[in-house]
């Protein structure tokens, strides 16, 4: 019995050594990490619009929101693409991290690419959205193939 325990202890000692090695590499837990400033970028293909007057929202957010816990937005940049036919209207929106609908919006129909500081000082973990509306199109459903992009700077 004692022999078995000694063998088991030896195994645990070896594992324990490797554990210390891992700890020295990883440093503090990920939850404690907070970057002071940075940015994220995302390119997504919008949803299909099925009929005249239809609208659809694309949500953009950081894939590592846990690393920007204390950060605030300093700038939002966008690039959006026209729908194949008819009139395209686009609203830029900000939705809080756990929210389901936007709390701030801006009509960016006049600028396919641009930037704004309107959402500055909002929590950087929030979601940025592009809401596309199509009217008067001649080829529904409008299946989207080109990616629209959002870049968020935060500090």
């Amino acid at each position: 019995m004692k022999k078995t325990v000694v063998v088991f202890c030896t195994f645990l000692f070896i594992v324990s050594c490797s554990k210390n090695e891992i700890s020295s590499v990883t440093g503090p837990d990920i939850e404690q990490t907070a970057l002071t400033s940075g940015s994220w970028a995302k390119g997504l293909t919008g949803y299909t619009i099925y009929m005249d007057g239809g609208y659809a929202t694309t949500l953009f957010s950081s894939s590592v929101s846990s690393s920007i816990t204390t950060s605030k937005i300093t700038n939002i940049r966008w690039v959006w693409n026209q729908l194949p036919s008819g009139t395209t209207t686009v609203l830029l929106g900000y939705t809080p991290q756990y929210g389901s609908s936007p709390t701030q919006t801006m009509d960016i129909t006049s600028q396919q690419n641009g930037s704004t500081t309107a959402f500055n000082n909002l929590d950087a973990r929030g979601k940025i959205s592009l809401k596309f509306t199509s009217t008067g199109g001649t080829s529904y459903p409008m299946v989207r193939t080109v990616k629209d992009s959002i870049i968020e700077n935060y500090t």
Partner: protein, 252 residues
């Protein structure tokens, strides 16, 4: 036994072995010949009725096809009454015979119901998030205005559909923003936009590519750290187990 049934505009002969034969009032008469022979069911429909049925069927197909193409006709932004009126006009155009107005109205209403149009007295959506249709934000009175516009444009020889649709889109967009405002959404105007030049755009594309790459790397690192954290917890359990074994075997 055979039953002869005559309805205004149409008639049919009915065979016998059926038990649930019903009669109705109005221009309907039923006669039962004494020496009628037993034979197969025969339905005779007048040419007028056939022509009307064909017109109705053709309009139904047109409505369905326009829906499938994504731009329904009659348009969704006018009142339900106007939609039925347009359908009635479509049927009239396809039907050359004469028929009383109420029959046409009934046929149009049936087509309208089958087409599944939204009731114009339905309450507008309470929020604008996700996906939907902007014309659903129009009120009944908005739609009445669209009716007037549609009629006036048609009288002026313009493309009534195009004129009304453009006006409806602008008004719907305004109504959608009003719903946002009612929900406390802050709206910024275009003065907050800084346009990007083509150079900025090229830079943005490159930056997006780099950031995307960095995001993917960061995500991988995040997952790796999570795995290490799990291993660490598992090792902590091993330590507890070791202590337990040491204690239970009296090993210091």
């Amino acid at each position: 036994m055979a039953i002869q049934l005559n309805v205004t505009g149409s008639s049919f002969t009915y065979d016998s072995s059926r038990t649930n034969v019903m009669s109705s009032t109005g221009n309907t008469s039923i006669s039962i010949p004494d020496n009628a022979s037993i034979g197969p069911d025969v339905v005779e429909i007048s040419s007028q009725t056939t022509a009307l049925a064909n017109a109705v069927s053709s309009v139904a197909q047109e409505i369905e096809a326009s829906k499938n193409k994504g731009y329904p006709f009659p348009p969704p932004y006018v009142t339900n009454e106007k939609q039925m009126e347009i359908i009635k006009k479509m049927v009239k155009e396809k039907f050359t015979g004469s028929v009383d107005d109420s029959t046409l109205s009934n046929a149009s209403e049936m087509l309208w119901k089958n087409a599944g149009y939204r009731s114009d007295t339905s309450i507008a959506p309470s929020n604008t998030s996700g996906s939907g249709n902007i014309y659903n934000f129009l009120s009944k009175s908005d739609r009445k205005e669209m009716d007037k516009l549609y009629d006036q444009a048609a009288l002026d020889g313009l493309d009534a559909l195009k004129v009304a649709r453009e006006a409806a889109a602008t008004l719907s967009f305004k109504r959608m923003k009003e719903v946002d405002a009612a929900n406390g959404v802050i709206t910024y105007d275009e003065s907050y936009i800084t346009p990007s030049s083509s150079e900025d755009l090229a830079k943005l594309t490159e930056e997006e590519r780099i950031k995307n790459s960095q995001s993917q790397k960061s995500e991988s690192l995040h997952n790796l750290l999570k795995s290490f954290s799990t291993i660490k917890n598992s090792l902590h359990l091993n330590e507890l187990l070791l202590r337990y074994l040491q204690k239970s075997n009296n090993i210091e």
